[in-house]
C-alpha cells in the first residue's frame, strides 16, 4: 500500500513530463483547428508512453541500473555518444521551451515581458534543485500539479458532443490543411513521448531505491500516472475545440490566446487557473529536464549523482544542471517566441526518438539485465510501431512545415 503512495512519482513525472508547455500548446492548436479529430494522436502517444515508463521502472527495479548507465554499459562508450548527444540537444531545446512556458505564465500574470522572467525562473528552479531533495520535488510538484485537473473539469462542464469525442479517438483523414494535420500529429506524439520522461522515471526509481518487489506497483503507477497526463491533454484539446475552434479562433499562434480557453467557463478564475496550470506544469518540467540532463551525463560517465546529496558531494552532477538551466534560459531571455520554440522542439523530439528508444528496447529484451522480466511481444510491437510512425511522420512533415511556413 505504501508503494501505491509512491504513485506520486508517477504523477509528478506525468505532470512535469507529459503535461507541460508542449502538450498544452499542441493540444490547444490541434483542438482549435481540427476539433476532436486529433484525439487519436494523444491516445496513441499516451499508450506508447505508458509502455515506455513501465519498462523504465521495470528496468531500474530489476537491473538496478538507470537507462543512461545501462545504455553506456551495454553498448559501449562509442555507441553511447550518439543517444547522449541527441538527448542533450533535444533536452536543451525542451528545457528552453519549458522555461519559456513559466515565463509566459509570469507575463500573463504581471504584464512584465516574458524575456525578463527567463533568468529569474531559471534561478528559482536552480535554487530548488540545489537545496531541495528528490522527495521534496516529487511530492511538491505532484500536489501542485493537481491544479491542471481544471481542464478536465472544464471539458466536462462544456457538455461536448461525447460521440464526436469518441470518434476523434479513432484515426481519420483530415478534410483540410492536410500537411498541418500530420505535422500536428507528429508534434503531439513528440510532446507525449519525450525521452527525458522515461529516462527521468528510471533515475527516480533508483533515487527511491526500488527493487523487484516494486514491479506490480510500477505497472499501476505507470498506467495511472501517464493516463492522468493523457486525460488532461485530451481535456485541453476538447476545451480548445469547443471554446476556441467552434468560435472562429482556429489558429492558435499567439500565447495570448491560450487563457481564452478557460475564461468563458470560469470567468476571472479561468484566467487564474490557466496561469497557475501553465506555471506549475512548465516549472515541474523545468526541474525534471534539468535533472535529467545531469542524470544523463553523470550516469553515463559514472560520476557520483543524486538529488538528495549536497552539491559539494556531487560537484559534476550539480554543475551540469546548473549550466543547463542558465544556458537554456538564454534563448528565452533573448526574446525567442516560446510557443514557436515549443512546437518545433516537439517535432524534433519525435524525429530523434529512435536514437534513444531503440537502445532502450534492446536492453529490455536482454536477459543479462532484466532476467526473466523481459519484454513481451505486445510491449515490443506497440513501442516499435508507434516510434516508427512518429519518425516517418516527422521526417516527412518537418521539411514541409519549414518550407510551407507557419
Amino acid at each position: 500500500m505504501k508503494k501505491l503512495l509512491e504513485i506520486s512519482l508517477g504523477v509528478v513525472t506525468s505532470v512535469g513530463g507529459f503535461l507541460e508547455v508542449g502538450s498544452m500548446a499542441t493540444a490547444a492548436q490541434a483542438g482549435a483547428l481540427f476539433g476532436f479529430q486529433l484525439i487519436w494522436a494523444v491516445a496513441l502517444g499516451t499508450i506508447c508512453i505508458i509502455f515506455l515508463v513501465e519498462m523504465a521502472g521495470r528496468f531500474a527495479a530489476v537491473s538496478r541500473h538507470t537507462i543512461s548507465d545501462g545504455i553506456r554499459e551495454r553498448f559501449g562508450f562509442n555507441a553511447f555518444i550518439w543517444p547522449l548527444l541527441a538527448a542533450l540537444l533535444v533536452n536543451f531545446l525542451v528545457l528552453s521551451a519549458e522555461i519559456g512556458g513559466v515565463a509566459i505564465a509570469a507575463e500573463l500574470a504581471t504584464g512584465i515581458g516574458f524575456q525578463w522572467w527567463a533568468l529569474p525562473v531559471a534561478f528559482f528552479a536552480w535554487l530548488l534543485l540545489w537545496k531541495g531533495t528528490f522527495g521534496l520535488i516529487e511530492k511538491g510538484v505532484s500536489i501542485l500539479g493537481l491544479v491542471t485537473l481544471c481542464f478536465v473539469v472544464a471539458a466536462v462542464m462544456l457538455h461536448p458532443d461525447w460521440k464526436g469525442v469518441a470518434a476523434g479517438a479513432v484515426p481519420s483523414l483530415p478534410q483540410h490543411d492536410t500537411a498541418k494535420y500530420w505535422f500536428m500529429a507528429v508534434s503531439i506524439l513528440g510532446a507525449s513521448i519525450s525521452p527525458y520522461l522515461f529516462m527521468f522515471y528510471s533515475s527516480g526509481a533508483i533515487e527511491d531505491q526500488w527493487d523487484k518487489s516494486y514491479l506490480g506497483a510500477n505497472r499501476a503507477i505507470a498506467g495511472l500516472g501517464m493516463t492522468f497526463g493523457g486525460t488532461i491533454s485530451v481535456g485541453v484539446l476538447i476545451v480548445a475545440a469547443v471554446v476556441l475552434g467552434a468560435n472562429g479562433v482556429t489558429e492558435v499562434d499567439d500565447y495570448n490566446q491560450l487563457p481564452l480557453m478557460l475564461i468563458p467557463i470560469f470567468g476571472f478564475w479561468g484566467f487564474v487557473l490557466f496561469v497557475a496550470s501553465l506555471a506549475v506544469a512548465c516549472f515541474g518540467a523545468t526541474l525534471e529536464v534539468a535533472l535529467q540532463q545531469a542524470y544523463l551525463v553523470a550516469q553515463g560517465f559514472g560520476w557520483t549523482w543524486g538529488e538528495d546529496l549536497k552539491p559539494r558531494d556531487d560537484p559534476g552532477f550539480s554543475l551540469v544542471y546548473t549550466l543547463s538551466l542558465f544556458l537554456a534560459a538564454v534563448p528565452i531571455a533573448l526574446g525567442l517566441d516560446p510557443l514557436k520554440l515549443t512546437i518545433f522542439s516537439m517535432a524534433l523530439t519525435a524525429a530523434s526518438l529512435p536514437l534513444t528508444v531503440v537502445p532502450f528496447l534492446i536492453l529490455l529484451n536482454d536477459d543479462r539485465y532484466v532476467g526473466e522480466h523481459r519484454n513481451g511481444v505486445v510491449s515490443n510491437t506497440a513501442v516499435i510501431f508507434i516510434i516508427a510512425l512518429g519518425f516517418v511522420l516527422a521526417v516527412v512533415t518537418i521539411p514541409l512545415q519549414i518550407f510551407g511556413g507557419t
Binding site: 554499459e73 562508450f77 540545489w130 549523482w305 552539491p311 559539494r312 559534476g316 550539480s318 554543475l319
Partner: protein, 119 residues
C-alpha cells in the same frame, strides 16, 4: 569472463561504495597460447579519448597536461588484483580519496561549487 561485455563500461566503486567512474579502458597482457589476462582498468578523459580514436586520445592527453600538469596526461589505472567483488558494479579494494581520480571534482568543489552558498 568476456572482457568487453563484463568489464568495459561498468561502474567502478571503491571500498566505501563511492562511485569512482566507469571502466573507460582496459590494460591486458597478451600471452602465448593462453587467453589475455587483465592487468588493470583505466579511467578518465584520456582513456575515453583513446576509445574514440588515436587522435582524440592525443588531444585529451594534451588538454589534461595543459590543465593539470604532465602527471595527469596519462589515464588513471587501477590494478586488477585489487578487485574485491563484481556484481552490478565492480568494487575495488582502494580508497578513492587516496587516488588522483577525483582531482577534477575536488578542484570543482574548491573553486566553483564550494563558493556557491548552500552547497
Amino acid at each position: 569472463m568476456q572482457l568487453l561485455r563484463d568489464i568495459l563500461d561498468k561502474q567502478v566503486v571503491d571500498r566505501e561504495q563511492v562511485k569512482i567512474g566507469k571502466v573507460d579502458g582496459l590494460v591486458a597482457e597478451l600471452r602465448q597460447g593462453k587467453p589475455p589476462r587483465v592487468v588493470a582498468i583505466e579511467l578518465g578523459s584520456v582513456a575515453l579519448g583513446r576509445r574514440l580514436g588515436a587522435a582524440p586520445g592525443r588531444w585529451a592527453a594534451r588538454l589534461a597536461a595543459r590543465l593539470s600538469g604532465k602527471r595527469q596526461a596519462r589515464p588513471h589505472r587501477i590494478a586488477w588484483n585489487k578487485v574485491r567483488d563484481i556484481g552490478v558494479d565492480i568494487e575495488f579494494d582502494i580508497d578513492v580519496r587516496r587516488t588522483k581520480v577525483f582531482a577534477w571534482q575536488d578542484w570543482l568543489r574548491q573553486h566553483v561549487v564550494g563558493r556557491i552558498p548552500g552547497a
